[in-house]
């Protein structure tokens, strides 16, 4: 695999788009892999008892999956040097239907000297964005 080239990119270019369906299985898998066993991510009774609509996706799962279209576009996960998000809205995951998350990755800023790009993510669920200031800095070839 090779790293995507800096040349030819322009601010505003959409570099990746992806639709991902999360299920309760995805949440259990992420809980095990990350060690985050907060029951609001797998028990509706606990989630509703603290005022939530139901079981929510881990914010870190949403953050973790949202960067993957950028990783695939750039060609190497090691090319990501900086990644930040704000968690602005929860993603409830229905037991039967799951939750569909839509990711759009766009060039936000270019640094010709460093041959780096800032990729801005728009991550939405049910028509509303769930992450704020979601920015990925990548080193390009």
């Amino acid at each position: 695999m090779s790293i995507t080239h800096y040349d030819g990119l322009a601010v505003g270019d959409v570099v990746a788009e992806r639709r991902v369906t999360l299920t309760r299985d995805s949440l259990v898998r992420y809980a095990g892999a990350s060690g985050d066993f907060n029951p609001i991510h797998y028990r509706d009774d606990v989630a509703t008892s603290v005022g939530l609509p139901g079981v929510l996706a881990h914010g870190m799962l949403t953050m973790g999956l949202a960067v993957q279209p950028v990783v695939d576009w750039v060609g190497d996960p090691a090319a990501v040097s900086d990644y930040q998000v704000r968690f602005t809205r929860p993603v409830p995951v229905d037991a039967a239907a799951g939750a569909e998350v839509f990711i759009v990755a766009k060039v936000g800023q270019l640094d010709a000297e460093a041959r780096e790009a800032r990729i801005d993510l728009t991550v939405s669920f049910d028509g509303a964005t769930v992450l704020g200031k979601a920015q990925v800095r990548v080193r390009l070839a």
Binding site: S26, Q68, A78
Partner: protein, 149 residues
């Protein structure tokens, strides 16, 4: 209950070395729906110039988590875990984590703020390799919801 503002500036002891296992990287990669062969396949990772498979960009949370536990269990901090919500998160890496790395982490509380009825605690976890070289810094803001919510 609000967070004790005096813990701003406090650092916790460096964590014991965390050995990044290859199967742990694969497990985490699958959990975040990573599809890059460099996250999963040793040959592909080596062909791209890495010593072993590369962990996804958010993998440092696993090591940061060990330091957040120090903060959350600190009686001086007074954080009520049942009211904690993740506000924001950032990873700034000098290099990617690869399977076989042995990493240690040190958390410092960088800010404690009150906003409305909520408390916000920002921390910085610096992750280093056995030579002390910087690998990644994880910044996190936890929001502790006030009583009225």
């Amino acid at each position: 209950m609000s967070i004790n503002p005096e813990i701003q500036g406090k650092s916790y002891p460096q964590t014991e070395p965390y050995l990044v296992g290859r199967e742990k990287v694969r497990e985490f990669s699958r959990a975040v729906l990573a599809t890059s062969p460099i996250n999963l396949d040793v040959e592909a990772a080596r062909a791209a110039g890495h010593a072993d498979i590369v962990a996804p960009p958010t993998f440092p949370i696993v090591i940061q988590e060990l330091t957040l536990q120090q903060l959350l269990s600190d009686p001086d901090a007074g954080v009520d875990f049942s009211r904690v919500v993740h506000g924001d998160q950032r990873f700034t890496a000098t290099r990617a984590i690869v399977a076989g790395d042995e990493l240690r982490a040190t958390l410092t509380v960088t800010a404690v703020k009150q906003l409305g009825g909520h408390s916000m605690i920002t921390s910085e976890t610096v992750v280093v390799d056995p030579g002390g070289d910087h690998v990644v810094t994880a910044l996190s803001t936890l929001v502790v919801r006030g009583d009225e919510s």
